[in-house]
Amino acid sequence: MALKDIVPIVPAVPINRYLWSVIAELDADLVLGYNGIMPFYPLGESAAGDAPWDGKPSVVYDRMMVINPSPFYPVKKEQIQYALKATPSDSLIWGSAIQYILDRGDAAAQDVNAYNASMNYGLFFHTLRVFQTSTQISSSGVQRDYSINQFYISKFVIDCEYHNNDRV
């Protein structure tokens, strides 16, 4: 068995899978437009490869920090930062969708666990929260220069609490 099959997977993976599945339920046409590619990339967009963007929204994510909320070590708390890259109108819709789907505390955690139950990721979520930390306007003080860059970057923090399970 390889190391990757033994250690728990990072929390962002099951969260992104679940998020994308709900978006697919809500708007199947939107997901079809991505030709089977889930537009959530860890860090640099170079990981996106030749994904056919055509101006479509995408999310780049980063494991921002691990918070140790208490000395009870099995309970872990991690914050993932999402940079949503989209046109201004898509930013509003996607930002709202991310919060609508994930910012539901225990209920969202249960849904993420249920959706990924068959994947054996070695993670069990307790709660999920989402909050927006910036839009492009607030982060640079001025609107992005759209003649150079057609996209708008909004940042969200996904705050999750979980514990690890053994991967069988």
Binding site: M64, P69, Q81, A83, S139, D145, N149, D159
Partner: protein
């Protein structure tokens, strides 16, 4: 039925003394608490800025050494905390760059502060020499006259760090870090843990110290 009022009186005095000690201990340990909190906020600040830099390098590349955007060791900024009993004040400052860009032979020492301010830069060729640099189309450009750069670091570098500092303190800190801590402080279990036969003024003070000790941290 008989009541042992002596024992009752002793227990009540002990409980009052313990409670007094706890309240006094809270007052005495305010600076201790703020010092820990300031350290956690500083660590969270570094993590936050590094993460934003990795996700949106255009706006923060200027506050890191060349080629080290989002890496702790490449930071050109520091945050200092000044802690008192009632307040914590944070001050950020830029440091000089010591690395050399791939297109230069000398460090751009004040790149963080110059690019953050969006200060126009004029580069002059050495006496009797020419400037050589890569143009926008990738071709080498040679010039014997001064070159003026209106927005060093690009348009998104100007004010980029200040904006992230603002986002951290106004949009992130409370929801991302402090709410959890406040929630824990709302339940002073350390006070009830010390509520026993041996309670005194000084055990109350010690319980307060434990109550104000932040167990968690940021990694």
């Amino acid at each position: 039925m008989k009541y042992n009022t002596i024992d009752y009186d002793k227990t009540m005095r002990s409980a009052l003394s313990y409670s007094d000690g706890f309240l006094k201990g809270i007052e005495q340990n305010q600076t201790y608490f703020n010092l820990q909190l300031a350290e956690i906020i500083k660590q969270a600040f570094y993590k936050y800025v590094d993460s934003v830099a990795r996700l949106d390098p255009d706006s923060l590349q200027h506050v890191y050494e060349w080629g080290q955007v989002g890496i702790g060791g490449g930071r050109l900024f520091e945050i200092e905390a000044f802690t008192g009993r009632q307040s914590i004040r944070f001050v950020t400052e830029f440091q000089q760059s010591t690395s050399v860009s791939p297109t230069s032979t000398e460090p751009f020492y004040d790149k963080a502060s110059v690019m953050e301010a969006g200060t126009m830069v004029t580069i002059s060729p050495p006496a009797g020499g020419v400037l050589a640099f890569e143009g926008a189309d990738g071709e080498m450009v040679f010039s014997s006259s001064d070159i003026q750069i209106d927005e060093p670091g690009g348009p998104e570098a100007k004010g980029g760090f200040a904006a992230v500092v603002r986002d951290f303190f106004y949009n992130y800190l409370e929801r991302g870090l402090l709410n959890q801590l406040i929630k824990e402080l709302e339940t002073p279990i350390e006070f009830t843990q010390g509520w026993n036969k041996g309670m005194t003024y000084s055990t109350g003070q010690r319980s307060a110290r434990r109550y104000l000790t932040i167990d968690g941290g940021v990694g």
